[in-house]
Symmetry: C2
Subunit: 505 residues, 2 copies
């Protein structure tokens, strides 16, 4: 019933995943009762439409030969996945609860378990495995050992003949990254041409794909907007599984789930995916699974604020930064320029046990003096400062595209004789992990004059700016206008930061 | 491609929505190029599997008679919706851009517009409507007037014959609620038996359905866990459209979108839907549309924290409260007992231009002295207090199931001679809308000794407890254990609140 299963099943057929065999337990019962109350489609026909081979096992309760034959048939099918629809009775064997929804959500209970054992003529104690069953299953042990030995011999021969390729495969299996991989990341200076961080992101993606054999990914049908194509590779398709550009179609939820699968398959597979930041709403459940399941998926989210402009409020994320900062085990990273974007990829690739979300702009941004990869790794750091003794008159905190605004406001305020520190606040999670001494060196407790600016909800910013500071942000939905105009209308300006700084200091 | 369209289409066929005609623009182009790169299923077969009538118009560019015939055929189909697949050329008529993805994402440009006009032999200025076209379309004006007059006469006759029914229909069309509807809501006293707020919610739902003719809703296949069945009504199904229990199946995203449609159809239709709080991740995009589109959908979310117990971290919401507090135009309501639950329904039904999310417990909770409907309407209010002059020694803030913990901690601390105020913090959005004087009367600025307790992420709580206060919560994923045990393990206890209160005051 869930839409994600249709998204993933459509792609599975498109990609011709012939090894995929899905068993559909056609037991006609859902938690609220018979599936008839909400689900009367023909699943067989739908999957045939999706391009699957479909087999129906009519007696899933005791039709062992039928099940075996279905699996054999499925294995023989080439070029497409197979759905084996198995009609069963839920709670089969339970005299009073079989074929009822009460079997789904709660335990049978001791009395009904007894009745079921009697009904199925199963005389043994709980957890007892009878000798003949054990013997029957144990025949798989020597069979498995033989298969493993065969594989090992094959791999040894392969390794001898193809040393480099075998080493690459091993590195994907073990997850050991090539030494110095991070040196491939590009670096920038303030003289580098202003650019959108989505474009700078593509430079990092392409640099990483050259040095990381398991690095692959794609977009939900907006690769040309997300700037996520790997230029030296073609499309991963049915006939070209060696390529690394995945074309997910407009299927964000499926995309996130597929990347979780890739990341958890082998530690050296490092998948990224991409969409507009606001569309992470469609795959929020998959991102939650990345976080809970410790899958180091890289989420490339462009068009990261009202700065995307004319597409308007349906496309402009507001609460998304806050919503991911609140989610455990997620690295939510806001990047301001080239060096920060490269730094974010270093962090993302290094973190194989937690997902990273890289928020990137559609609009052009300056490369700022003082930004650095090392800064990104600390979560928050000083970008510019003319104070001494860790006692600035005011601290200006910016993130992503708004760091540039804080930076310029700092320059203006210094002209007026103020001691101003400008802090880039990339990732709350990473900053929280730093030592108290480091945190105090960036945000000294004694300095309560603080102003933050971020083109998103101010929810949560009290933690950084305190009750005496001021958070500039957007606590309403956006509007359609060019980026420059909308920033002005919403008060996200150098002038606003200067005014706030004077108010709080 | 999006999963939600499959969810909604499956339900549309199940419900036999014969008036629904969907046009599928089969132009073979998506933003990233030809749909062949990601989408090779048979849409026709899939929709036949879902139970739709499918028609294929092969020439959607100029086959006017074919299109007319398809619409006639679709209108004649009874018992099922119709999909008209219309094969077209995207950018038809543009000599250089037709049939290419460049037509999708950007404007043709002046030069190509000129070329297209020439190619289509359209000699007129922009926005000019030629006289013969105007005349041809104008024939619909008298036809429409006649149809409207016919409808009005029919309704007048109906109103004469069925006064009560006509008034009910009118109230659904206008959105005017029956006077005193809120008096139907149940009230509770501290002597009422302890109960889960999901059960108390069902009492309010059933009370409202009796007095509000447009009140209807259902769950995503967990009605018996959400406690959302309306007992005096049957199931809304193909043959029983007069009933009010909707069976959405396991289709949260479709459920949210369908409720948006119902709410926006007529102001007097008040839809609710239900799932576990953590599963709002699946329909977050629909909730965002409720907020942005000003649809007053009521989201009933039960199993609102680790308090749900044994199902474990996959089912335990952590960051969800914070994530919705950050979303504009959403009333995120945490309810502690019967009176607060009834109050939440008063707020939810009254707010027809913004969605409400009611977080409800699986576990039993006490009815507390001091909770009230009026309190809920203010967002935050004092539940118990032994201080004077608005100068408590400490303020304890609780939400939902944790209000009981704060309440008991307050009682203990008072035994030790402390002046303690206990505040229930239902809705940050509603509290923000109160006057400064009211806010000061609940949370006086001078009292910085504050402790909050909530079984969720502490993200954002600095706003309430300040830098000198303490927020007790959960900043990691949950675990599987009975509610009492897990609260203890995670430090959400009366003892922890007392210790924190002593630390901050």
């Amino acid at each position: 019933m869930e839409g994600i299963s249709n998204e993933a099943s459509s792609l599975a057929a498109h990609w011709g995943l012939e090894k995929l065999i899905a068993f559909y337990d056609d037991n006609h019962i859902s938690i609220d009762g018979d599936t008839e109350i909400a689900f009367t489609e023909s699943v067989d026909t739908r999957f045939e439409g999706l391009g699957w081979h479909v087999i129906w096992v009519k007696n899933g309760n005791t039709g062992y030969d039928e099940i075996r034959a279905a699996i054999q048939e499925a294995k023989a099918v080439k070029d497409k996945p197979t759905l084996i629809k198995v009609t069963t009775t839920i709670g089969y064997g339970s005299p009073n609860k079989a074929n009822s929804y009460s079997v789904h959500g709660s335990a049978l209970g001791a009395k009904e378990v007894d009745a079921t054992r009697k009904n199925l003529a199963w005389p043994y104690e709980p957890f007892h495995v009878p000798e003949d069953v054990k013997k029957h299953w144990s025949r798989h042990v020597p069979k498995g050992s033989a298969l493993e030995a065969e594989y090992n011999a094959k791999f040894a021969a392969y390794e001898k003949k193809y040393k480099e390729e075998a080493a690459e495969l091993k590195s994907i299996i073990t997850g050991e990254l090539p030494a110095g991989w991070e040196k491939a990341l590009p670096t920038y200076t303030p003289e580098s041409p202003a650019d959108a961080t989505r474009n700078l992101s593509q430079q990092s993606l392409n640099a990483l794909a050259k040095v990381l054999p398991g690095f692959l990914g794609g977009s939900a049908d907006i690769a040309s907007s997300n700037m996520t194509l790997l230029k030296m590779f073609g499309d991963f398709q049915k006939g070209t599984p060696e390529e690394r550009n995945l074309r997910f179609g407009v299927r964000e939820h499926g995309m996130g789930a597929i990347c979780n699968g890739i990341a958890l398959h082998s530690p050296g597979l490092i998948p990224y995916n991409a969409t507009f930041f606001v569309f992470t709403d469609y795959m929020r459940a998959a991102i939650g699974i990345s976080a809970l399941g410790e899958a180091g998926v890289i989420y490339v989210v462009t068009h990261d604020s009202i700065g995307l402009g004319e597409n308007g409020p349906t496309h402009q994320p507001i609460e998304h930064l806050a919503s991911f900062r609140a989610m455990p085990n997620v690295l939510m990273l806001c990047l301001a320029d080239g060096n920060e974007t490269a730094g974010a990829y270093k962090v993302a690739v290094s973190n194989r046990k937690r997902p990273s979300i890289l928020a990137l702009s559609r609009q052009k941004l300056l490369h700022l003096a003082g930004t650095s990869v090392e800064g990104v790794e600390k979560g928050g750091y000083i970008v510019s400062d003319n104070s001494s003794g860790n006692k600035p008159d005011v601290i200006l905190v910016g993130t992503g595209s708004e760091l540039e605004i804080a930076y310029k406001a700092g320059e203006e305020l210094r002209k007026e004789g103020k001691a101003v520190r400008v802090v880039s606040f990339i990732s709350w999670e990473l900053f929280d992990e730093q030592s108290d001494a480091y945190k105090e060196s960036v945000l000294p407790a004694a300095v309560t004059a603080r102003v933050s600016i971020e083109a998103g909800s101010t929810f949560g910013w009290e933690k950084i700016v305190g009750s005496k500071g001021k958070a500039i942000g957007i606590d309403r939905f956006g509007a359609s206008a060019p980026a420059g105009r909308i920033y002005m209308e919403f008060g996200l300006t150098v002038e606003a930061v200067i005014a706030a700084a004077k108010e709080v200091s």
